[in-house]
């Protein structure tokens, strides 16, 4: 779904202002960002710098106060809530820091969730789930509930859920933030594989330079502006 010039994501002059009572908090100001299709981009910056906000804007989970957000050639900031939900379901895979698995569903049912938004038959859905569970190396954990899985396994289920609809864009918010180093490395390895072998475009928010080193490019966010170097 790439746009012109091979760009998948194109943010122009984006402002994001939050209101807390009468107070206005400017999180992003006049921000520009271009992400080519197939890139693995790491987004770093101090806490409160607006990394997650930026990720939410790219994923259509939030809207900019000003500016434009174009993904795959489509101005998603202009879409209605309803269309935006459908757009997310088709084009975006989300990976959360705390996995956000539904505790009442087992691993395969959690992974199947996004497929419920498609017209696939139950049999097809099962085939897709089997495939992605195999990709993340958890075919033997299909019937396990989140509470029966380790943190690393839960995050791999989360990644399986994110890729089960075969989205172009994967948005990962601190995917290793809640994991030990070994599990974190496994998750990062998996993301790298998805990027290299399946051409997934990945935007990953992280505090961890070790994680960011896995990305093909790292940008730094501070005081609402991007830079190529960390701000001291």
């Amino acid at each position: 779904m790439s746009g012109s010039n091979g760009l998948l994501v194109d943010l122009k002059n984006v402002d994001k202002v939050f209101k807390r009572g009468a107070e206005e908090i400017h999180v992003l100001g006049g921000l520009d960002l271009e992400i080519p299709e197939g890139e693995f981009l790491a987004l770093m910056g101090p806490s409160g710098s607006g990394k997650s906000t930026l990720l939410n804007l790219i994923g259509g989970l939030d809207r900019p106060s000003a500016g434009s957000v174009t993904v795959g050639g489509q101005r998603i900031d202009k879409l209605s809530d309803r269309k935006l939900a459908s757009w997310r379901a088709r084009h975006v895979g989300l990976v959360f820091q705390f996995y956000n698995l539904l505790p009442v569903l087992n691993a395969s049912r959690n992974v199947e969730l996004p497929l419920l938004l498609t017209h696939l038959s139950a049999k097809k859905r099962r085939e897709h789930v089997d495939t992605v569970m195999s990709v993340v190396g958890l075919s033997h954990r299909m019937k396990h509930y989140p509470r029966q899985l380790s943190g690393g396994e839960q995050q791999r289920v989360g990644i399986a859920r994110a890729i089960v609809t075969d989205p172009t864009l994967l948005l990962c918010d601190e995917p290793t933030g809640d994991l030990d180093r070994k599990s974190g490395d496994e998750v990062l390895e998996l993301l790298q594989t998805l990027n290299r072998e399946q051409d997934k475009t990945i935007v990953m928010v992280t505090h961890d330079p070790h994680a960011a080193a896995r990305a093909s490019r790292t940008v730094y966010l501070d005081k609402g502006q991007l830079s190529l170097e960390p701000v001291e």
């Binding site: 939410n56 989970l61 939030d62 939900a85 459908s86 956000n100 009442v104 569903l105 969730l113």
Partner: protein, 396 residues
């Protein structure tokens, strides 16, 4: 549309699966609503019981004649001659012994209630010989009928149950003398079961009424004979009477009482319902709050707001339905058939009746419960749907 339904079913199933984690608030909501429905159905079953008793009190071919302008038998008065004229009117059923018309007296005696010991006005009815034929469902079930011409009493089963001293074989003071109770009668659960009966002529004597009555009860040749009967009496210059079907008369007699009970019951239920609604609101707000991250995750994945709204509403309605069923069941077990007596403000006398929890009341109770559930779930559902996804993900 199919996709929307699939989303709705899925989201609803997830939310119901999380119910065990929220059983405390869910149960408090269920039992809050159950209490409301039990009270509503219980109170309305009193009015329904009275309505049923009234229905059972008269056949369609029964009519009552009183002095014009009288709202109750207590306020009526008919001379003996007038009673004879009424008895001779066309349209009345007749058998070998004559017209099925019973001139009657209606007086009040004081007796203590068995339940509280407080004095209550118990109706004593003096009847004429055809009275037992006029009321087709009347039957002496214990003892025997009173002897005509003797100071003897038969007591309705409801009166015997509710008022002290009305046991078979005992006697009570009537007009300054002790009258023995020689029989207990049933009347299909109708008003007569709350009365004491005796020979009208003996009651006239005991209360120095001369040859006067207060009403004439008749059995008509057929239900269709009413107009002929009424027209002949109202057109007769010797009479100044009102003629009603007995069923209408009884219904009118209990209008005020039923109105008070229904009004009070509805008021109590409305107030309790308000409390239960806030309980349901709290439960569903808690549910939405506890599932903020789940709801936000589902919506982030692409689930739309509609299914989320429906799932919250469905859960609220389900809890309300369970509460309604429990409340209705409790009301049925606790109240159906429960016997009591209360003052009828229009006749100034006690009426004995049984609470009646019927299917209509249960259905209304459940509808009320669902209404509480609907309102209780609506605002939390809207909140769940309007939660900004990004904010909700961050909050969790």
């Amino acid at each position: 549309m199919i996709n929307w339904l699939l989303q709705t079913v899925s989201v609803t199933r997830f939310s119901l699966q999380t119910l065990p984690e929220r059983k405390g608030s869910a149960l408090s909501s269920v039992f809050g609503i159950a209490g409301v429905v039990a009270v509503l159905v219980g109170v309305l079953s009193i009015a329904q019981g009275i309505r049923l008793m009234v229905q059972n009190s008269a056949d369609p071919d029964n009519a009552i004649v009183m002095r014009s302008g009288s709202d109750s038998e207590m306020m009526s008065g008919l001379g003996g001659t007038q009673a004879e004229v009424i008895t001779d009117a066309p349209g009345i059923a007749r058998d070998a012994e004559g017209a099925l018309a019973s001139p009657e007296l209606f007086v009040i005696i004081n007796l203590p209630k068995r339940s509280t010991g407080t004095d209550a006005n118990v109706p004593l009815r003096g009847v004429s010989r055809p009275a037992f034929k006029v009321r087709s469902n009347l039957e002496v079930v214990q003892g025997r009928p009173f002897e005509w011409g003797l100071a003897e009493l038969v007591v309705g089963a409801g009166a015997a149950r509710e008022f002290a001293g009305l046991d078979l074989g005992s006697s009570i003071e009537v007009g300054g003398e002790q009258w023995p109770i020689v029989g207990i009668f049933e009347a299909g659960g109708g008003i007569a079961e709350g009365e004491i009966w005796a020979d009208a002529a003996v009651v006239q004597s005991a209360y120095r009424r001369g040859n006067s009555y207060q009403s004439v009860y008749t059995k008509l040749a057929s239900s269709g004979s009413f107009t002929e009967f009424k027209d002949s009496l109202t057109a007769d210059p010797r009479l100044n009477v009102k003629v009603e079907r007995a069923a209408d008369f009884y219904s009118d007699q209990s209008t005020v009482l039923r109105g008070i009970i229904v009004g009070l019951g509805s008021l109590i239920a409305a107030l309790m319902g308000l409390g239960a609604m806030f309980g349901a609101l709290n439960t569903m707000y808690t549910a939405v709050s506890a599932r903020t991250r789940e709801i936000a995750t589902l919506r982030a994945l692409g689930f739309k707001s509609g299914p989320v709204v429906v799932s919250v509403l469905f859960e609220s309605l389900l809890l309300a339905l369970v509460g309604g069923l429990i409340g209705g069941g409790l009301a049925y077990l606790a109240f159906d058939g429960f016997r009591a007596a209360t003052i009828n403000f229009q006749s100034f006398s006690q009426i004995a009746f049984a609470f009646d929890v019927n299917a209509t009341l249960l259905k209304n109770g459940i509808v009320y419960a669902l209404l509480i559930g609907l309102v209780g779930g609506l605002f939390p559902a809207i909140r769940a749907a309007r939660l900004p996804v990004a904010t909700a993900l961050r909050e969790s």
